[in-house]
Symmetry: C2
Subunit: 215 residues, 2 copies
């Protein structure tokens, strides 16, 4: 079946980056092919899931052999849209915003931090960890000039919705929200959230309800 009509389940999409990271490791070690079993072990899932997930991308494996690492990595990068860079704008140059700007993990993986945006006049015009700080009003122009496609919200919760509205109005279609609050975006805008305290609260729950009957 050619290339077209697949719909990849959301759960699978969330695992693709993990597989891709594993493949990158294998590439570094010059491993030519990998079985679903080995890949499953590296990605921390089971082999059947790996095979089903990869089958959504197409039939890139060889029975009796496994998957060619380099080819699979390329196909997966293409599918994830990682064959080009996606510049991001970080909204909010406070603690969290600065920390994210300084965190190298984004640029490394093809998401260069193009700018920081902050309403504080005293920060505008400066550079933080080498990244220029602009005013909110500059955002639409920056989106055009720098091809910014993703906005990262690292503001206090109180202004997060207003900031998100501004990000959307500036022409950005994807938002990653770090503010500990629910934000709403119009149809056609993609939103994901990272809630740091939430993760700790979930851990707290399971620790409190430690294995029901075992000590």
């Amino acid at each position: 079946m050619g290339d077209g009509a697949r719909h990849i389940p959301e759960a699978t999409v969330s695992r693709l980056p993990v597989y891709l990271r594993s493949l990158a490791e294998l590439l570094d070690d010059n491993v030519p092919t990998v079985s679903s079993e080995r890949l499953a072990e590296m990605a921390g899932v089971n082999a059947a899931k790996v095979r089903k997930d990869l089958s959504y991308l197409g039939s890139y494996g060889t029975r009796g052999v496994g998957y060619e690492v380099e080819y699979l990595a390329f196909q997966m990068s293409r599918e994830l849209g990682l064959t080009r860079d996606w510049p991001v704008a970080i909204m909010g140059a406070g603690n969290l915003g600065q920390a994210l700007a300084n965190y190298g993990g984004f640029t490394d993986r093809g998401f260069p931090v193009a700018c920081l945006i902050d309403a504080d006049e005293s920060k505008v015009g400066t550079r933080i960890h080498g990244i220029p700080v602009y005013a909110p009003a500059d955002l639409p122009g920056l989106v055009q000039e720098l091809g910014i496609s993703i906005g990262i919200i690292a503001t206090p919760a109180t202004v997060a919705q207003a900031v998100a509205d501004h990000v959307v109005a500036s022409g950005i279609k994807s938002i990653l929200n770090f503010a500990p609050t629910v934000i709403n975006v119009p149809e056609g805008t993609f939103l994901r959230k990272v809630d740091l305290a939430l993760e700790l609260q979930v851990l707290s729950f399971y620790q409190e309800h430690r294995t029901p009957d075992r000590v």
Copy 2:
């Protein structure tokens, strides 16, 4: 019935902190009761889900009226184990570790950062944002003295597994992993992960596969 034998689904557990945050807002505004519909709107889910989720905690609502905000918030805090503080140790005093130590959102929500742990001798003994830095070997003692119950891994991926092993060996039962790699923990240890680049890659995927047939 009563209080005992419920098993709360994982998906529900992940939403409880969101409800709790909404309830805290209502408390601030002195709102005495709230309907499942209003709470659903605040939490960004639908009303049926709210009612089903809350029913796992017990029958704390009143038909025809709604839920008493203060009482529900208390019951939920209790269920989540948030009636006491859970001190955390941050493993790794690099970029990310320092940023997390400086991020106030943890302490605010009952997860005080008790210490930073780093292998770099030149950092050990100093304070970063007021938080003392210790050597890895000090961890077991700190767990005992300070009652540390959660380890946050903010090290490079290359050493994350070794660090996790050390955290487990030191008596910590819950781990939040920020390192971009899969780590394995023994049965009985709770593990959650936050993968920043992964979130961006997922956004990249959906942006690349923008709404199939619409422009």
